[in-house]
């Protein structure tokens, strides 16, 4: 069950990452930093107001706004140059990490959920913390919303069409640049949201950004780049493997993540649900 909760958190992170990659071919290495800074902002708001919902919104919305600035201000300068885009996000992640260290210090911080959420529920023989139900719930709600928006609405159709053929969508008169910005905001928004939730499930500290980024990357590699379904399956696989790996082979925890990733890559280089880019 702990693995499943962690999978929920990973899904929130991985889905944003995979959407940005699927549509824009941007590997956003600042995704982990967005998570971390979103979490820190949530922590600050929580400390000031003791309102967890407000903290969640603050983390997510502020990172959404950050997404606009990043996409419009920087990413657009190197549009269509994949390696430059990647290097740019890496530079941004370094700056964010250093500034976060300057502002929030090096000590681990964490958010305690209020109300009944910091208590536990007894299900049969095991007790289970309510905050984990909450995180899992948020992840499921987000997954359903994303599924409906992307699968059933006009905006979703634009995004899916953009994933398949950017030039053609552009030629059809769909404002693809605006779709890009929207998806980028969605991705950073979800990362910020995950940050605040992660601040209660885990802790925030300098270096948490790259650690969580690795997990998001493995989720996306396993599930397949650009696939929402892949992000769901990928985060479940990674969440459970990580949990059992840590329990059974604590010293080789990362290895237990790596082995299935390699097997999947050898078998299907594009990931479980990825489209083949030959």
């Amino acid at each position: 069950m702990n693995g499943v909760t962690y999978a929920g958190l990973l899904f929130l992170l991985g889905s944003g990452f995979t959407l940005i990659f699927g549509l824009m071919r941007i590997v956003n290495l600042a995704h982990g930093s967005t998570y971390l800074v979103g979490g820190y902002i949530g922590y600050t708001v929580m400390a000031a107001t003791n309102n967890f919902i407000l903290a969640l919104l603050a983390g997510a919305v502020s990172m959404g706004i950050f997404g606009v600035i990043l996409e419009r201000g920087l990413m657009r300068q190197v549009r269509g140059q994949p390696i430059s885009e990647l290097l740019l996000t890496m530079g941004v992640s370094f700056v964010m990490g250093d500034l976060a260290l300057a502002i929030f210090g090096g000590n681990p911080l964490s958010v305690r959920m209020p109300g009944g959420l910091d208590k536990s529920t007894l299900i049969g023989p095991i007790t289970y913390p309510n905050e984990r139900f909450f995180i899992l719930g948020v992840a499921i709600v987000v997954a359903v919303i994303l599924y409906v928006v992307i699968g059933r609405t006009r905006a979703g159709a634009m995004i899916r069409a953009g994933v398949d053929d950017r030039e053609m969508v552009d030629a059809l008169g769909i404002p693809i640049k605006r779709v890009f910005t929207a998806v980028f905001i969605l991705g950073t928004f979800l990362a910020g949201l995950a940050g605040v939730l992660g601040a209660s499930l885990l802790t925030l500290y300098p270096g948490a950004d790259s650690e969580i980024l690795t997990y998001a990357l493995v989720v996306v590699i396993v599930g397949g780049m650009g696939s929402l379904k892949g992000a769901v399956i990928g985060s479940l696989v990674v969440g459970l493997l990580d949990n059992y790996g840590k329990a059974y082979f604590p010293e080789l925890a990362y290895f237990s993540l790596f082995a299935p990733m390699v097997l999947i890559l050898l078998w299907r280089p594009q990931g479980l649900f990825g489209k083949s880019v030959a």
């Binding site: 994949p82 390696i83 941004v92 690795t214 604590p250």
Partner: protein, 352 residues
């Protein structure tokens, strides 16, 4: 421009080969006398530049010449350095320990390469990042072997027969010699027909495949060559630092190696050395005065990607070209390094 300067420019332009050779000789002489200046700080600084320069140059064989940007290159430094520390811990002598470390690097490279060359472009970057994080994770968590967060000490530097390298200044010469030899070998590699095929793969992989080149084997060899020199840098690092820890191979440090290559200039051998010099200077010197030096370095990196796409070395090459035009020589048709990042990007774009 006065007549004297004009004459100087003329010499620089007309005798480019000999000038280049001259610069290398002068650089070597300067490097050779640094320990004689009596400042241990500069010896230590230059040692870092040489070791990280070697690491960055070895990455550029893969990144600049083959178009495969690895975000896990510090792993090979890590495997080399941990290999030394572990081999000494289990009681091997220094020479077998070096062999042990290099075999460890080779095995890692053979395994990682097998997976990494199956993918290209962005997927390659992500995959190498994930592989690098796994090496970091093992160093961090596999406490019984790696010492975990505490790292491992390296008991001392080796002495070979009459040569004792325990002092920084004597170890410095050993590093300098190894550095020069390695760069020489890499220079030969990238200027061989094999190196030309690598650049062909970078620019148009499909065409190279059609021409009958075994692209996968070429990339695999490039990956292993690059990793091995990275491992040599790791061995040098272990004996320089006398301590290895997971921090030196974390995500930020993997990124730093890429930073060195990009800031210095992709696709050249000297660029990454210049980049390593700049970044080590920031880490060890600017950091004393500017607490947020990492932010400054990050901003410099972002600006390089946006505006100075050939890196510092590309900038120098542009200056050289400008001087040549000023001196009335037609622009040469030699490979331009000023837009190196654009070339790597174009190569990635064409594969989509």
């Amino acid at each position: 421009m006065n007549a004297g300067l004009r004459a100087l420019v003329h010499v620089v332009v007309r005798r480019r080969r000999s000038v280049q050779l001259g610069v290398v000789v002068v650089a070597l002489v300067v490097a050779a006398i640094i320990p004689q200046l009596g400042s241990s700080f500069y010896v230590s600084l230059t040692l870092s530049v040489l070791i990280y320069g070697l690491l960055a140059i070895s990455l550029d064989v893969l990144a600049g010449y083959t178009g495969l940007i690895s975000l896990g290159h510090a792993s090979f430094l890590g495997v080399g350095a941990y290999g030394i520390a572990y081999a000494l811990k289990i009681g091997l002598d220094p020479i077998p320990a070096i062999g042990y470390a290099l075999v460890a690097v080779l095995v890692t490279a053979l395994l990682f390469g097998l997976v990494a060359v199956r993918v290209r472009e962005l997927t390659f970057v992500i995959l190498t990042l994930a592989l690098g994080q796994i090496v970091w994770g093992l160093a961090y968590r596999w406490v019984s072997v790696s010492g975990g967060d505490n790292g491992l000490p390296v008991p001392g530097r080796p002495s070979f027969g009459p040569f004792d390298f325990s002092a920084d200044s004597s170890y410095y010469y050993l590093v300098l010699v190894v550095f020069v030899l390695c760069v020489l070998v890499m220079w030969l590699v990238v200027h061989s027909s094999f190196g030309l095929s690598l650049r062909g793969i970078r620019d148009n992989e499909a065409r190279m495949r059609t021409l009958g080149y075994n692209v996968v084997v070429h990339k695999y060899l490039a990956f292993i060559i690059s990793a091995m020199f990275g491992g040599v840098a790791g061995v040098l690092f272990a004996f320089y630092n006398l301590y290895v820890s997971p921090t030196m191979i974390d995500f930020a440090h993997n990124g730093t190696v890429v930073q060195m290559v990009v800031v210095g200039g992709l696709g050249t051998l000297w660029g990454p050395l210049v980049g390593a010099g700049v970044i080590v200077f920031f880490q060890q010197f600017v950091s004393i005065y500017v607490p947020r030096w990492e932010t400054v370095l990050g901003v410099i990196f972002i600006l390089t990607v946006l505006f100075a796409r050939g890196g510092l070395w590309g900038g120098l090459a542009n200056l050289g070209r400008w001087l040549r035009v000023r001196a009335g020589e037609p622009p040469t048709s030699g490979a331009s390094t000023s837009q190196a990042l654009t070339e790597v990007d174009a190569a990635s774009g064409s594969g989509d």
